[in-house]
């Protein structure tokens, strides 16, 4: 584990005790069973916001604590352990990063304080197809009077249904696939012409497809520079990727520990199944890989805090490694539990579903391996 300062240790401990006491996996199950549309428990989110978690990467002048990304990662890791579903990743990390990195001071003062106190939820509306491809933007922003008119569709927007404000990537010139010609906009989610459709996803989280039909925004809705939004978008996405990797780390570690506990109690052939080397060696391998993945995730978060130039490659490294490890661990969780792991009453299925959803979010392993190689120039 990374060497933590005092603030970080306190934050991590607070997150650990809150999730264990207030938001265990049974709370996620309850949320799933209740069929709540937004895909998270609003009361739990209020508590999280009251503890200041939504403002961890937001500067103090806008109501945050500016503790940084490693700190945010520590919280997300604990939330991941118990599969707590909340807008923290999409709002407190994703949308907040966009505003902090590229927002005008008016945009910042309008949204950051509300995001920090959890009274507004932000979301990143980036992808338009089945696969993460931030440069494949077709959603058109055409000049309209002094501002723009937005038309097109965004898919799989995490917390898209609950969001009050959307960070939207739109095309102002060029064609889908071009990195030039992308502009970011800050758009209130209740703007005229926006319609949102909840997606019923396997992991029970709050995703939505969002359609923009001639949504009128002013020139002051542009985040950063017109046509030059892509570099900012990449920076924002790298923060979201590192954050989701931290969540995946927590979930994978918990999936592993739950499995390990089972290996120590389940008896077959007169002995605990953990005495079979066929399982022992796989457990040892998973433990090894989780340690490697932790290093990768913490290095990416630390690099972001240091604003180091190798953030993109470290983030792709972390997301690819973490995805592979969570993939294996979630499969092994089911396999090593045998029949009980196949039942809905057991938690294994939740971890399995969460794993695949996280793997696909903000770029799969294959996406990030390719990106890593490109950054390295081969």
């Amino acid at each position: 584990m990374a060497v933590l300062n005092e603030e970080q240790s306190m934050l991590r401990d607070a997150a650990k005790s809150w999730t264990q006491e207030k938001s265990p996996v049974t709370a996620f199950r309850k949320m799933r069973d209740s069929g709540v549309e937004v895909g998270f428990d609003a009361a739990a989110w209020t508590e999280m916001a009251e503890m200041g978690w939504a403002g961890v990467i937001i500067p103090e002048e806008f109501g945050g604590s500016d503790f940084g990304y490693l700190s945010m990662g520590l919280i997300l890791e604990e939330l991941g352990r118990t599969l707590t579903a909340s807008p923290l990743l999409a709002s407190g990390l994703g949308a907040a990063s966009a505003l902090v990195l590229g927002g005008t001071s008016a945009q910042k003062s309008e949204w950051l304080p509300k995001i920090a106190e959890g009274t507004a939820i932000g979301a990143l509306a980036v992808d338009e197809g089945a696969h993460h491809a931030p440069e494949k933007v077709a959603l058109a922003a055409t000049k309209s009077g002094a501002g723009y008119s937005l038309s097109g569709t965004k898919t799989f927007v995490l917390e898209g249904l609950a969001a009050n404000v959307l960070i939207v990537s739109a095309r102002t010139s060029g064609k889908p696939g071009d990195k030039d010609g992308i502009t970011l906009f800050v758009v209130p989610a209740d703007a005229k012409g926006i319609s949102r459709k909840r997606l019923a996803l396997a992991d029970s989280r709050g995703g939505a497809n969002i359609t923009f039909d001639k949504v009128e925004v002013g020139a002051d809705a542009v985040l950063g520079e017109a046509d030059k939004g892509y570099p900012v978008l990449e920076k924002v996405l790298d923060r979201a990727r590192a954050g989701i990797s931290a969540e995946m780390l927590g979930a994978a570690v918990q999936a592993f520990e739950t499995t390990l506990d089972y290996l120590k109690v389940r008896v077959q052939f007169g002995q605990v199944i953990g005495s079979f080397q066929a399982l022992q060696h796989r457990a040892a391998k998973m433990f090894t890989d989780l340690e490697l993945a932790r290093s990768a995730v913490e290095a990416a978060l630390t690099a972001i805090d240091n604003d180091s130039p190798d953030v993109p490659e470290l983030v792709s490294l972390a997301k690819a490694k973490m995805g592979d490890v969570f993939h294996v661990v979630s499969n092994e969780m089911v396999q090593m539990h045998g029949g009980i792991g196949m039942t809905d009453a057991h938690d294994a299925g939740f971890y399995l579903k969460r794993a695949r959803a996280c793997e696909a979010a903000y770029g799969s392993q294959s996406y990030h391996r390719d990106r890593y190689a490109r950054i390295q120039g081969y």
């Binding site: 019923a200 002995q271 396999q335 196949m342 009453a345 579903k353 696909a360 390719d370």
Partner: protein, 400 residues
């Protein structure tokens, strides 16, 4: 019936084609097999007619002996029937555990009277069977089972609990492993049959991670089995159980068939991921892994063919059969995984019109498929069997 030669196979083919044409209700063409669905609904008149026709003809189990109503055909003739059903877009309405594992076992170990009583009803699809083997404390270590069976003079009385009993909520009969001697492990197990439609049997469906409930907890409280429904000798059930598990395993490996279902991976990938300017799958990393999986699948199919030819040529079963379950099930799981990956976010849907039936099916299939390496002898149990029985590696553990 004598084995048809090449030209006789063609004669059978024309016969089968004409018969299917005359008997298969057109409205069922290309429709899924209602047997494959977990939630049984009342069959339509056409479905009933088709089951009855196939049942009377015996072609649902083409290679079973004609004296019990089976098709009485050879293996190669049986394949002709299968091919012609496929060609006509017709499903086989005769299936389930009776066909897959219990029937073949009873044909081998049952008395003449037991075969006469039970086999024809399986052939006609009139009776559905479930497998009462696993218990909470006896999964991989099946021989640790403790469901108690007592001799009550004119009948047996059964008390205990089974778990993961597939289709118990729809089953008419159960083939069950019970403990008839507590002083020995393997030699204290008997194989009995009894009806599920009796007060002493209670089933509770268990929901699965894929959202369906195909299996149950099954409780026996003074349940009754008739003396005539003991298969094999008292305390001699383990041998029969192991034979039955071999049939189960054979059925679960995919046996070289059953890989059709849905579009090919390459076609899917081209659709969801796109192609480069030379027509190759646009994501090279994915393309490599799809290729590796295709190679794995082809070599598995080649092995299935080789095992079949060898078992026909030689006297005993081919050594290749021992690897089929692990190779086949792991391949299928890998295929499910890569299908989801190809579909990306679209491969994460649970329900609703934002996803195609193919996409939703992929997700449920992926989740349900996780059971392939658990049931029918887990992948670890299979590897232990290969190590011990085929490779002759020593077993270092102390027996309990």
């Amino acid at each position: 019936m004598a084995d048809f030669g090449g030209s006789d196979l063609e004669a059978l083919r024309s016969e089968a084609r004409a018969w299917i044409e005359a008997n298969f209700p057109a409205e069922l063409k290309g429709r899924p097999n209602p047997m494959m669905r977990e939630e049984r609904s009342t069959p339509s008149a056409a479905q009933e007619a088709w089951r009855k026709a196939m049942g009377d003809k015996g072609w649902g189990v083409p290679t079973w002996p004609a004296q019990y109503g089976g098709g009485g055909l050879s293996a190669s003739e049986g394949r002709v029937i299968q091919q012609e059903l496929g060609r006509a877009g017709a499903y086989n309405p005769i299936g389930g555990m009776g066909v897959m594992m219990f029937g073949p076992t009873l044909l081998e170990y049952g008395t003449e009277a037991q075969k006469q009583e039970h086999i024809p009803k399986i052939v006609k699809g009139e009776v559905q069977w479930c497998q009462g083997f696993s218990e909470p404390g006896a999964g991989s270590d099946l021989a640790a089972l403790s469901t108690k069976c007592e001799d009550k003079g004119d009948h047996f009385q059964i008390n205990g609990q089974k778990i993961w009993t597939s289709g118990a909520q729809f089953a008419d009969w159960c083939f069950c492993l019970v403990r008839t001697d507590t002083s020995k492990k393997h030699e204290g197990i008997s194989f009995v049959l009894f009806t599920m439609h009796q007060p002493g049997v209670e089933v509770r469906p268990i929901p699965l991670i894929a959202g369906n409930s195909p299996f149950c907890e099954t409780f026996f409280t003074d349940a009754r089995a008739e003396k005539k429904d003991l298969v094999g000798p008292l305390n001699g059930g383990w041998t029969i159980a192991k034979r039955l598990l071999q049939h189960e395993r054979g059925g679960l490996s995919g046996g070289g068939g059953g890989f059709g279902g849905g579009r090919g991976l390459v076609e899917l990938a081209k659709h969801y991921v796109g192609v480069d300017d030379q027509g190759r799958i646009a994501d090279p990393d994915l393309r490599t892994r799809i290729t590796a999986l295709e190679i794995e699948g082809r070599s598995f199919q080649q092995t299935a063919v080789r095992a079949m030819l060898e078992s026909k040529g030689n006297s005993g079963p081919s050594a290749a059969t021992s690897i089929m379950k692990n190779a086949g099930t792991q391949w299928m799981q890998a295929r499910h995984e890569i299908t989801l990956e190809i579909m990306g976010h679209q491969g994460l849907g649970w329900e609703g019109e934002d996803f195609t039936a193919e996409e939703l099916g992929a997700v449920r299939g992926w989740l349900g498929g996780k059971a392939f390496t658990i049931y029918g002898g887990s992948q670890e149990v299979q590897s232990n069997i290969i190590s011990k029985r085929i490779l002759g590696l020593p077993d270092l553990t102390q027996h309990t």
